[in-house]
Amino acid sequence: MKEEPREPARCRELLGDLFDGTLSADGRRDLNELLKTDPGARRYYREQARLHADLDLAYAGGGIPLGMPPARETEGSWARAQATGFGQGAVWKLAASVAVLLGLFFAFAIRDRDSVATLVSSEDAAWESELPTALNSRLKPGSLELKQGMATVRFDSGAAVTLEAPARLEILSPMRGRLARGAAIVEAPGSAAGFVMETPSSYAVDHGTKFAIEVSATGQESGFEVLSGEISVHHPGSKQEQRLRKNEAATATERGIVRTESPFTGQYTRATVPALRIGTGGRTQSIIRSGSPTALNPAYLLLKSTVEPENPSERRAFLSFDLSSVRADAFAAARLVFSMVPTGHGLAVHLPSEIRFQVYGIPDAQTPEWGRAWKWEDCPAVSDGQLLGTVTVPRTQQKGKVTIGGDALLEFLKKNQGGPVLFMVVRETKALSSGSLVHAFATDFHPDASGPALEFFLSPEIL
């Protein structure tokens, strides 16, 4: 029988204040007293505290929650470690590797001098980026390519840029960004007045406002619309300048700036319908290093990798499309589309906060028979393939559409048109410890999600 708090209402109130950050000085005194004298209250507190920690880890474990002061700089900790006489030879090397592991586990934000922005939110986001894409990552100057979903980057000046996929944002400084393509909403508080958002042909100076901006895939046209406040749009090529107020819009082209009547329409970012879409026809296969057939399931393309080399639980997957009646060279773009599905195997907590998948094209591949168990050693290895693309998702994402495309994929398809093409998918990101999540993409045999597809487009704008 559980021991209950003597004053349940008061106990709940104080703990609510504690966990929601509203505990007053008096409340703190009362809570100390209550917990010291009432074992029932302590029992209730311990359960709640553990849940509070679990929730914090589940949601914010990949980074520092917003509003939290920056964590101590790692270098500082090292300096102290050295000052205390710790840091020689093998021990030092070990400590460094532990630091890497723990750093990945908690991803404590390091507010180094080079970072100029923070990734503050992302919804259903998939990235192709050299910059980190985990929530709350500190961002140095560089570019971010949002392939799917929405995400907000807050520059250190206070300007927040919310991107809608597909979009490419270049981070230049705390006061300057560049939207290379796609759509974004820029919101600049007073502290960020003067924030500049460049586009390929023009730039907008923010005078404390909120505005929408959209750049065509070719970069030739940029649309601006002010939602509140005022901006000025500049066109260096023609030295033109336009001031836009609320609900006013303009389009900048290579020639200059034109005022537009129509409101912001999302014309460049409307989803493009593929001209041709083909499936695998059931030609999908996962392999596991241990060879255990019970660890595989035809409904999934299973993916797992660990830091330990040749781990028996490592899994990768193959899929094939029949291009015998497809003229790949008639298309301007192509992409592979997968549906991520949860497997229920393992935990994401053992993984770094970002997960990267790679797709390799295997030229002239001989495969064992589809639908039969494949042996690891009989299958093509990474070294037999040609890297065609990568996609990065947060470790917590186990559902949703994932796409991989680009010039390398289209070139591979053109070169191999007229017959079957074989792809291998691997999870490049390795687990930090055992029991890690097994990722999966659905195959045609999955009861709910759609199997992999290869989509071709007549216009390159989709990528």
Partner: protein, 175 residues
């Protein structure tokens, strides 16, 4: 890396979430717990020579974390921390009596499952509070609720989650 070092790294990595939960319980604050966890990790590395493979790493790490938490309270001004040292000692004793709790993996699975069963509005509130780190004032504005009502709702959601997790974890470890 020799096998002993390798095991140390494995154990240290594997115990992080449990150690974090332990420190949150002792200190009543996730922010303080993170600070002390970093200090604790540093001390554990320094004491790597004392580590004997096959011994109870978790118990050793918790003892070390307790001393770090105590030092943390002593270093800080009285009004800057939630609990005093006396309460810290009582809570640590009870945690020690309780011993190692369920594997953190099981807890995480149970939590995920229970979160997925929350009605959408409740899930939004919890996500906003923990993922976005929103303050109660911000949330009151966003959700159009009064502070007292919002806090009561959050506490109810936590209780629902606790009840759900308890039954999930009982399924995993009967008896």
């Amino acid at each position: 890396m020799n096998p002993q070092d390798k095991e140390f790294v494995f154990e240290l990595t594997a115990c992080q979430s449990r150690l974090y939960g332990y420190l949150v319980t002792l200190l009543g604050s996730v922010h303080d717990a993170r600070d002390v966890l970093q200090e604790t990790n540093l001390v554990l590395w320094q004491k790597i020579q004392e580590f004997r493979p096959g011994t109870d790493f978790g118990a050793w790490a918790r003892r070390c974390a307790y001393f770090q938490a105590r030092a943390f309270l002593r270093d800080r001004k009285r009004d800057r921390h939630v609990f005093d040292e006396e309460l810290l000692a009582i809570l640590a004793d009870e945690e020690a009596e309780q011993g190692e709790r369920e594997a953190s993996e099981e807890r995480e699975l149970a939590l995920r499952d229970c979160l997925s069963r929350l009605p959408a509005k409740q899930a939004d509130l919890i996500r906003d509070r923990y993922m976005e780190g929103s303050s109660i004032t911000e949330m009151c504005d966003r959700f159009g609720k009064k502070e007292s009502a919002l806090k009561m709702t959050l506490m109810r959601i936590r209780e629902t989650l606790l009840g759900c997790m308890e039954s999930k974890l009982r399924e995993v470890t009967p008896g």
